[in-house]
Every structure is written in structure tokens, then in C-alpha cells.
């Protein structure tokens, strides 16, 4: 049974690699789904997932257990995904501040549907992963389902 305490024991015994090997099967897909929900790009999401686990490996000795390990991991994953998203935005020069402002104003809202369908997580769990209220998750999910349903309808009528 994987617990935060057992992981911290491994970290204290300077066996971080073993701790990561235990965390990987439990969190790899979740972190990947979270990164994918932001980036909507498989390659980029995989790169972010790698970076997230390396960050976790580096930061494990400093984990102070104020939050649960999963919350801590999701925070790292969210921040890494947002950084990757920002890095992907077009780099505008200082001569066009209006373009710069417009680019900055783009809302990097994640798609909770990806996590829900990939990992079959509850709304509450998805809300924790994305650090947003459950109501927002439900709204975003409802919109995504409507969009997907419309797209599926279009596909079936065109075929």
C-alpha cells in the first residue's frame, strides 16, 4: 500500500529512485492526463510528465507533508503545464505591445473532460487536480460534452 509516510521513509533513507518507482505507476497517467488537459498535445504532455517526475525527484527531500503527496504532485504538474503552455505561445517583440497583451490574455483553461474520460476520476478528484471549484469542473465538462456530442452528430450525418 503506497502511503505518504512510506514514501517519506524511502526519501529519508536516500532511496529517492525507489520512491519514484513507486509513484510512477500511481501517478504517471494522472499527471499525463493533467498535462494533456492543458496542452492538448500528446508529445508536449509527455515531455511535461517527464519534467514533472524529475522535479518531484529533486524536490522530494524538501516535501514537508503540509499537503498530501497527491495534491503536491498535481500542483507541480499544473505549474509545469502552464509553463509549457506559456513557452509555446508566440514570442512577440516589444514593438507590438498590443499583440503581446492579447497573447497574455488568452485563458489557459484546461479541459477536465480529458481527465474524466482518461482516468474515470470523480468531479471532486478532477477539481483537486485542476485546483478549481467542483462547479466549474461540472460546467466545463457539460460544455465539452455538448461540443463533443455536436461533433459526433455532425460526423454521423456526414457519413
Amino acid at each position: 500500500m503506497l502511503t505518504d509516510a512510506s514514501l517519506m521513509e524511502l526519501v529519508r533513507a536516500e532511496r529517492r529512485d525507489e520512491a519514484i518507482a513507486l509513484l510512477l505507476p500511481a501517478f504517471r497517467r494522472k499527471v499525463f492526463a493533467l498535462a494533456y488537459s492543458f496542452l492538448r498535445d500528446r508529445e508536449a504532455a509527455e515531455d511535461v510528465t517527464q519534467e514533472v517526475f524529475i522535479k518531484i525527484w529533486r524536490a522530494l527531500p524538501g516535501f514537508d507533508a503540509r499537503a498530501s503527496m497527491s495534491t503536491w504532485i498535481y500542483t507541480i504538474a499544473r505549474n509545469a503545464s502552464l509553463s509549457a503552455l506559456r513557452a509555446r505561445r508566440p514570442q512577440s517583440s516589444l514593438s507590438d505591445p498590443e499583440v503581446m497583451a492579447a497573447v497574455e490574455a488568452i485563458d489557459p483553461a484546461p479541459s477536465p473532460d480529458v481527465i474524466v474520460y482518461m482516468e474515470a476520476q470523480s468531479h471532486e478528484e478532477v477539481a483537486t487536480m485542476l485546483a478549481m471549484p467542483v462547479g466549474t469542473v461540472k460546467t466545463l465538462l457539460h460544455r465539452a460534452r455538448a461540443r463533443l456530442s455536436a461533433a459526433a452528430g455532425k460526423m454521423s450525418t456526414s457519413s
Binding site: 529512485d17 519514484i20 518507482a21 504517471r28 509527455e46 524529475i54 474520460y117 474515470a120
Partner: protein, 138 residues
Amino acid sequence: MSTPDSELDRHLQALFRGLDTRADFDARLMARLRAESQTDATERTARARHERARYRRAVLELQSSRRSMLRLLTLDTLGIALLLVAAVVTAGPRLSRDVMDISSQYGPYIAMLLGILIAAVPLVGMWAEQTRRPIRLL
């Protein structure tokens, strides 16, 4: 959404379940972590070497400053002794016969005591240096 009931949900779930990292994800990650671990160890060794060098430098500086203090103390004692001799020589003719008698009687002892004091200063300093606990800077 943990119990999807519609056809669309089932379809989407089947679609998204196929979305995953590549098969060699874990192996690549562990290889990167091993490389990180080695870099970490190299950095730690370099840091330790740098700290040891800093410690040695600091100890040498401290020993050097102690030796300088000792030299200064010895020169001070010599200077005081010389001043005392000069004071006695200058004031000698003006002193009363009783004082002269006493000084001629005890003069060699006083001179010997002064000599012992001057010789003792560096000896005491050296003894203190040797019996001092090892310097701990870290």
C-alpha cells in the same frame, strides 16, 4: 462521471483510454534520473572539496594571525623591559642612597626576573598554541 451511462461517454472513455505515454516512458525517465543522480553526486563531491579547501585556508590564516600576535606580544614585553631599564638608569642618580643600596642588593634578581618574564612570554604562547583544542570553523 465515474459511472458513465451514455453511449457518447462510453465511446469517449474508450477513445481517451488509448491516450497514454509511450511504452518506454518509465525507462527513459529512470535513465534521466540516474544521470541526474550522478550529476548530483559530482556536484556534492565538488562542493565538499571546495569546503575542505576553504577550511584549510581559514585554519592557516588563523594560525598565521596567532603567530603574529605572539610576535607582537614578545616585542611588547621586550620594549617594556627596555623602558624599565632606561627609567632606572635615568632615575638612578637621583635616587636616595637607601634605594640605591636596595637596588644594588636586589638588582641581579630583578634583572633575572625580567629576563625570565621576557623568555616566558613566547614559551607560554607556544604552550597555549599546542594545548589549544583543534580549530573548528565548520
